[in-house]
Amino acid sequence: MQLATLAELNAERAARRPAILVTDVASGEQRLVKAAAIGTDPLSNELTTHLRMGKSGMVEAAGKRLFLNVYAPTARLVIIGAVHISQALAPIAKSLGYDVTVIDPRTAFASPERFPDVPLIAEWPDVALPPLNVDHYTAFVALTHDPKIDDPALLHAFARDCFYIGALGSRKTHAKRGDRLRAQGASDADIARIHAPIGLAIGAVSPSEIAVSIMAQITATLRLPAKEKEQAA
């Protein structure tokens, strides 16, 4: 790989933009296709499919065997609510390779003592979220139980097309939440995107077990094809 290509790839990754490295494995010839250039690339169809699946692989084109290496951004987890579940969830997510951020305007909750080694923002979501550049490669969970904090955060998650959106609360609580969010402009499709009650049904009781069920559901959403995802949910 040319050093310039490597530097370009690293820059794209630092900016959280996906890129695909196309390598002719016979000759070693190589080019980097940035996300914005995929539409006009001769391999546009193949690149689009591979990027959507987040899957690297070999393709044949014009008699050549080409390896497409898909470099998608590192997944992030944004946790609204510096609550007990979050204390268990943050380290689990970190161990799975997620970049974790915890947001809670209540400074008694959002204390560094409760969240060592996790970026913590003691601000309201409308202040904390815009600079984070939440994107499609982000899982988003609202855990405060407080509509004043969770609702505006969820509206932000819809707008940024997070790959996973989950919120704490019973079916009854969630129905009320749906009404409130619709009143603030959310669509039925937005509401349908929220995993609530949050987490896979594994009979979780303790905050740690609930954290495991949430992380399992996020993993299923990230990794499984649509049909199997429905079964897991």
Partner: protein, 107 residues
């Protein structure tokens, strides 16, 4: 903490900038049960220091040896590892799969 892909490729760039010869190994094909998915990277410098993983530890030693050759020659190589220890590399994958690893020089 495990090294992430970003860290691995960043290390490759940094090593090159500090004057090291560097090679990049990438899993390009897998058959059967493979320990690391297609696209996984391992970077190696001319001192034999490496970061990342192409097989979770099964064949890294052999890949590093080959990578040192690639750094010297500049010629990319395709390596194949299977469970049967009949390959030229004399190492295999305990999980029963086969992987093909592309090794190229950086720079």
């Amino acid at each position: 903490m495990l090294n992430r892909d970003e860290d691995i490729l960043r290390a490759a760039e940094d090593w090159h900038k500090t004057g090291h010869g560097v090679a990049l190994a990438t899993v390009v094909e897998t058959w059967g049960s493979a320990p690391r998915p297609v696209g996984s990277n391992l970077v190696i410098n001319d001192e034999g220091t490496f970061l990342g993983s192409v097989s979770g530890g099964c064949v890294e030693g052999a890949v590093v040896t080959e990578a040192l050759d690639v750094i010297t020659s500049g010629q990319p190589k395709m390596l194949e590892f299977g469970v049967a220890d009949e390959t030229a590399w004399n190492v295999g994958l305990s999980c029963g799969g086969t992987i093909r690893v592309f090794v190229e020089k950086v720079g």
